[in-house]
């Protein structure tokens, strides 16, 4: 019955869900677009010299001054929306992955160590984590963003601070229950250093719930960054993320120039929903209680 390797079996089950596979495809596609955007985008939206102000606020399909077609229209500064969206996706993916990865490493290490060390240290750390978790991520990110200023690094720091606690708590829970299992006691009674026991035995078994948290948090990071940029914090106007683009177009919505906000918005939604769908599928597959 269980002759296939767990990874192969996992992939097999994953393939059964058409929705999840479609979502995964979308993610891969967007990832490719994001990666290749500097080469495939028709225009560099950061280079202010290439922007033609006369072409500002044009609808999709408009042919610009240089005979150039703006497939998705232009924004208030005359940026080609298609290019801006491609670059924006690139930023979203970069930040989402960066924040997710760093938060993962910090949180997982903290949580596992706490579970391992035990005693008062564990209690103190977990109390602090609980405290932080009861504080909404958006407020933390908001305040930190305001304090740190604008920029990619700053926003990643803000996002990581807001999110590492989720990883820490999940890692702590998983590591605690692993710690109590017999094989850990057996491993600890050998001359193996504790560090090796943690990294080679406990951590791999904690991976499933952590992976689920990771997918959710990457999606959250992207959404949070977009929200912060929308509010005017986060990324500077010169390096517009999808949130900034949407914010820029907000004032034009009421006068009918909907494309400036809508298209970046749609791109953002597709990315986030795709990640969440894949995350949902992974979570359902890894949930032992649903295995009937």
């Amino acid at each position: 019955m269980d002759s296939a390797a767990p990874l192969a079996r996992f992939w097999f089950e994953f393939r059964q869900s058409q929705i999840a596979c479609a979502a995964l495809l979308v993610i891969v596609l967007i990832g490719a677009l994001a990666l290749l955007s500097p080469w495939i985008a028709p225009q560099n939206p950061y280079d202010l010299a290439t922007l033609v102000l006369m072409d500002a606020r044009r609808p999709p399909g408009h042919v610009g001054a240089g005979g150039y077609v703006y497939w998705l229209g232009t924004d208030a500064q005359g940026r080609d929306l298609l290019s801006a969206i491609l670059y924006g996706l690139r930023i979203s993916v970069q930040i989402g992955l960066a924040a997710g990865a760093v938060a993962f490493v910090i949180g997982a290490t903290l949580g596992t160590t706490a579970a391992f060390v035990g005693g008062r240290v564990e209690m103190l750390i977990m109390r602090f984590i609980d405290l932080q978790l009861s504080f909404p991520a958006i407020l933390l990110a908001l305040v930190l963003s305001a304090l740190l200023g604008q920029g990619k690094t700053q926003i990643v720091i803000a996002l990581v601070t807001a999110q590492y606690a989720y990883f820490a708590r999940t890692a702590h829970g998983a590591a605690s229950s692993e710690r109590a299992k017999e094989y850990v006691e057996a491993a600890l009674s050998t001359p193996l250093p504790a560090r090796q026991v943690i990294f080679r035995h406990i951590l791999p078994n904690c991976m499933p719930p952590l992976i689920v948290v990771a997918t959710v948090q990457v999606a959250n990071s992207i959404a949070l960054e977009a929200t912060l940029s929308f509010l005017g914090l986060g990324l500077p106007v010169t390096e517009p993320s999808l949130g900034t683009l949407i914010a820029n177009g907000f004032q034009y919505m009421l006068s009918g120039r909907y494309w400036i906000s809508i298209y970046p918005g749609v791109a953002l939604i597709i990315l986030i929903v795709a990640i969440n769908l894949v995350g949902d599928q992974i979570r359902d597959q890894l949930n032992p209680r649903l295995r009937r």
Partner: protein, 323 residues
């Protein structure tokens, strides 16, 4: 039970202290503390006077005590932008935010829980599939985007509802509330809907997961074996059992909704605390930022406390253990 209450109160007090210390460190020790109290463009003399008056030349721990003392007296300084005491500024904006948040939370709960229970009770029906798809959207799509779409659809294209602002208010107990007027309700509807969607999605998922689990339990089998109808079972057995984890999440999420009102208020120009904090951040009105943080922390602690009490009230097993 009393011992339990006192224990939680003490914990709450400790947490408040910790947060005040953190805020103090963040604002006073890291940044230039002067910037919190006076605008950067005042004369040098006023600057020196303020430093002396507030004791910024004194050691840090003395400053912290002074800070605490000011807090206890409700003295948060004056807002740079509005030139009025911060506390009264915040209190004047609070009702609007509370109104919005409560409307959103009530809506999410009263609609979300029944929908989620239905989804858990009949997991294979087409209605359930619809509910779950909508919940995925409410969960993933960022709140600000939904707000934009709502404004586009209902205010711009259809013209049914206003695109922003708060409607007419009626004073009750000295506070202005807008949900008591029809005009007020029309202004409240879209932002409340916007704010509630995320929580609605969460409630649906929680209620569904809980219902599914409980429906498979022996308790339900026994209840069915004694002839109780499915309706009774859902109302009296399932609802009671899933309300325990839901209440916990409800409490935490109330605070989070309060925080998220920041986004909704910005989009809909709703004159509440959220809009205030964004404006303050952008105009570097630091006294307001400090006060806002402390207030939110305080609200959070109260909410957590209430959740703990509700938890104990709902689960009789906890009462026995705690006493």
């Amino acid at each position: 039970m009393l011992g339990f209450l006192i224990q939680r109160l003490l914990q709450a007090a400790v947490v408040m202290m910790v947060i005040s210390a953190l805020v103090f460190i963040g604002v006073f020790a890291v940044g230039n503390p002067i910037d919190v109290l006076i605008s950067p463009d005042v004369t040098q003399q006023i600057r020196l006077d303020t430093i002396a008056a507030y004791g910024f030349d004194k050691p840090l721990w003395e400053q912290y005590l002074a800070f605490l003392e000011r807090l206890v007296h409700g003295n948060f300084g004056r807002s740079f932008v509005f030139n009025m005491p911060v506390l009264s500024l915040i209190l004047s904006r609070l009702p609007a935010t509370l109104e919005l948040t409560i409307a959103a939370v009530l809506g999410a709960t009263l609609i979300g829980i029944p929908l989620g229970m239905y989804a858990g009770y009949k997991p294979d029906s087409p209605v359930t599939k619809l509910i779950m798809s909508v919940s995925i959207l409410g969960f993933s799509v960022p709140t600000f985007w939904i707000g934009l779409v709502l404004i586009m659809t209902f205010a711009v294209w259809l013209g049914w509802l206003p695109a922003g602002g708060r409607g007419d208010t009626v004073a009750v107990l000295g506070i202005e509330w807008s949900f008591l007027t029809l005009n007020g309700l029309s202004h409240l509807f879209l932002p409340a809907l916007n704010l509630s969607l995320f929580k609605l999605a969460m409630m649906i998922r929680l209620a569904r997961a809980g219902t599914r689990e409980v429906m498979l339990s022996d308790t339900i089998k026994f209840a069915r074996a004694s002839g109780q109808s499915d309706g009774t079972i859902l109302r009296r057995h399932v609802l009671r059992q899933i309300s325990i984890p839901i209440v916990t999440v409800f409490g935490l999420e109330f605070g989070s909704t309060l925080a998220f009102a920041v986004v909704t208020e910005t989009i809909f120009s709703w004159p509440g605390l959220g809009k205030l904090i964004i404006d303050s951040i952008q105009s570097l009105d630091r006294p307001v930022m400090v006060a806002y943080l402390m207030l939110i922390a305080f609200l959070f602690i109260i909410i957590n406390f209430l959740v703990d009490i509700a938890y104990a009230a709902l689960d009789p097993r906890l009462r026995a253990r705690r006493s």
